[in-house]
């Protein structure tokens, strides 16, 4: 553990040194463009300091360290509220897929480094209006012809597409095959002619997801990342990366310490809220759940570090953490009484209960809805039968809409 402890100290020292330039105070009241620019500068500084691509291979610009090193850095980075959110999807899913599946290695390395430095941003074009949970039900068409593939259709819920330089996309290359079989996986330049990005506003008023329309968008065959009609496997690999990357026992909400501090200022029936059994139970239960998730993740990291395959329990983090965050946020607002009614525009899901609560449903849907995660556990881990699916094995173009 001493090597990791050294790493932790190094990270903490560097983060503290740059916090005045990039941290929460520096970001206060910046508009999105200025904040994004600050974020790009932060990523460049992080790369130069050696804290980027921590567990990626050295060949693609990474540091080649263990996943534990990455975990430690992220835990240290979190409280500073650095402007790194714009790059989360980019570095979490599309770029790792590129590293894994792109045949032009030199080009992949170039992209990876540009993404690590915040110079380029990638988005992931998966979900569609007709199928959120049902990824394989997508309808965007990819037709092969002169000069490559022509894409037509519409994607939905694409995070940060408005800032993306590139995207990875799954499209239907053969509608006469059953729905999982006729899909192909590409990367594309988001500035290609025919690509239109339209922001979607979410319940909390923010604009980080988008609709993306494709109108005769030309994609050369060299940008194909899967075999023709073999894109579903690559897409599933991406989602698996997403599920493991999504480890945060606070469910992307505030830390438990904030709940305790909030409760410390509250009164329940003329007594301190922290003395109330219900509040104490909520704290103890949340701690037990988070400690369990943290232990699962540490065990997985340690197994990976020792060259073992981590257990399937790594996939349950989001399911537990976001639901727990949703309830805890509701309770925090209730405890605050009329002070809980306030809405702070500047707040984040990490430091504000109202913001955390209003955004929590998004967390329960994005990256696999609760119901899909439960089905996955039941079918893949416990070996229970698949649900009845009337569309199974039916050619896609014969499934009733």
């Amino acid at each position: 553990m001493s090597a990791l402890d050294g790493w932790r100290k190094e990270a903490r020292a560097w983060l503290a040194s740059v916090a005045p330039r990039f941290g929460k105070a520096a970001r206060h009241r910046l508009d999105e463009a200025a904040d994004l620019a600050l974020g790009r500068a932060y990523l460049a500084a992080r790369y130069d300091a050696g804290f980027a691509g921590i567990h990626w291979p050295v060949e693609v610009g990474g540091r080649g360290l263990s996943p534990l090193h990455k975990l430690v850095f992220e835990a240290e980075e979190l409280p500073f509220a650095m402007p790194s959110g714009y790059f989360g999807v980019s570095l979490g899913m599309p770029v790792p897929v590129l590293i894994r599946f792109a045949s032009d290695r030199a080009w992949a390395r170039e992209r990876a480094i540009a993404a690590l430095r915040g110079e380029e941003i990638w988005c992931q074009l998966f979900s569609e209006p007709a199928g959120g949970s049902d990824l394989a039900g997508l309808r965007t068409r990819a037709e092969f012809g002169d000069g490559g593939w022509r894409l037509n259709g519409q994607k939905l819920w694409t995070t940060w597409a408005q800032h993306a330089d590139y995207g990875v996309i799954v499209a239907r290359s053969d509608p006469a095959l059953p729905k999982h079989k006729g899909l192909t996986y590409f990367w594309l330049d988001m500035r290609s002619p025919g690509v239109t990005v339209r922001p979607i506003r979410l319940a909390d008023g923010t604009h980080h997801v988008n609709e993306v329309f494709f109108d005769e968008v030309l994609v050369p065959d060299s940008q194909r990342l899967s075999p023709v009609d073999g894109g579903f496997g690559v897409a599933m690999a991406t989602l698996m990366i997403e599920r493991y990357a999504g480890g945060d026992s606070a469910g992307f909400g505030p830390p438990l310490e904030l709940f305790i501090e909030t409760a410390r200022g509250c009164i329940v029936n003329d007594r301190p809220a922290l003395e109330d059994g219900r509040v104490r139970a909520a704290i103890a239960r949340a701690y037990a759940a988070r400690a369990g998730l943290d232990a699962i993740q540490q065990r997985a990291m340690r197994m990976m570090a020792e060259g073992m395959e981590p257990g399937p329990e790594g996939s349950l983090g989001k399911l537990v953490a976001v639901r727990s965050r949703q309830r805890l946020s509701e309770l925090a607002l209730d405890l605050m009484g009329s002070a809980g009614l306030a809405w702070h525009l500047d707040a984040t899901t990490r430091d504000d209960w109202a913001k955390s609560w209003l955004d929590a449903p998004t967390g329960r849907i994005a990256g696999g809805a609760d119901e899909m995660l439960l089905n996955t556990i039941a079918e893949r881990i416990l070996g229970l039968p698949q649900d009845h699916r009337p569309d199974k094995g039916v050619p896609f173009n014969q499934i009733p809409a």
Binding site: N269, L333, M336, L341, P361
Partner: protein, 364 residues
Amino acid sequence: MSILHDEAQTLIGTEARRVLEAHTRREVLLGLLEAGGAYDRGVWQAAIEQGWTAIAVPELYGGLGLGLIEEGIVAQAMGRAPAGVPFLTGGDGIIAALAASLHADLQARWLPGLASGQIIGAVTLTTGPAPLPGRPEVRFRDGVLSGTAQAVVGGAHADIALLWVVDEHGPALAFAELAGVRREAVASFDNSRGHAHLHFAETPGVLLAEGQDAFTLARTILARAAVLTAHEQLGGAEELLAIGRDYALTRKAFGQPIGAFQSVKHRLAELYVLIEIARANCIHAAARAGHSDFIRAAAAARLSATEAYDTAARDVVQIHGGIGVTWETGLHLHMRRARSLAIEQGNMLFWEDLLAKELTGTGA
């Protein structure tokens, strides 16, 4: 004990739903979220025209002389909309407090205006960190009020207020005109509720009740507010169930309506169960006003309706997937309302404790 609505009551409900459906537009409600301190004036005008403001006012003062049952029926329709006006519950509290007081002058001065909707009333029993605190934040001394009532529902627009204050002897109930009071609108996640801090500075006020009388009356008024709010919550939960059911029947995944999957079916069935229990408790509680078991009936209604609306907000959004969390679809209007209603009339812990005290005789 009227647990079956009579014809007139049923008609009030049908009319209220019709009128509110006609006057409610989602774009307006979404717009209100971003306009601090505004409310849905069209709906408020309709409420006045329908006579909803007059329901509980005695006939002597231009009211209809009806009671909590009829107000509850209207509140349920308001919750379903969900309406962008927060005044009926506060109005009921002031009407009840004035009616219970011996101040015939105040009654004559204000009840007709409350009945006609020209006067808007607010109540401060649950503002601040906890409901009905032992040490209220507003002081009453020598006929004037000072201090701040925090995040009062409708406070941005109210003309008069019923206040939970402290005088030389302890907590008391006071009445005040708000004309000269500084109001500080609170940016809220449910802006149409008109939340505002009311800063009293040597504001003239009238004492309505002191000592044990004040506690008893405050609890009764709070219980009435809980019953009305429970009806609003019930209406909101019902509407969400209807939306969720319709979506489950039309949205397809994996080749069938998502309503054919048991996870969705059972979620909606459990929600139906919570709603029917809340409905039964609401109907029962509204009919128990004035009886010795009113507090416990009100608490039961409040607890079950809060659970129903909270669950509906969580689960119906969840059933919708991504479309459920967009601004335009507007399910978050109900989600926000579920939370503001959960907070405004005393949180769950307060009502659990109040009910436990009633049932066990033991305080916390």
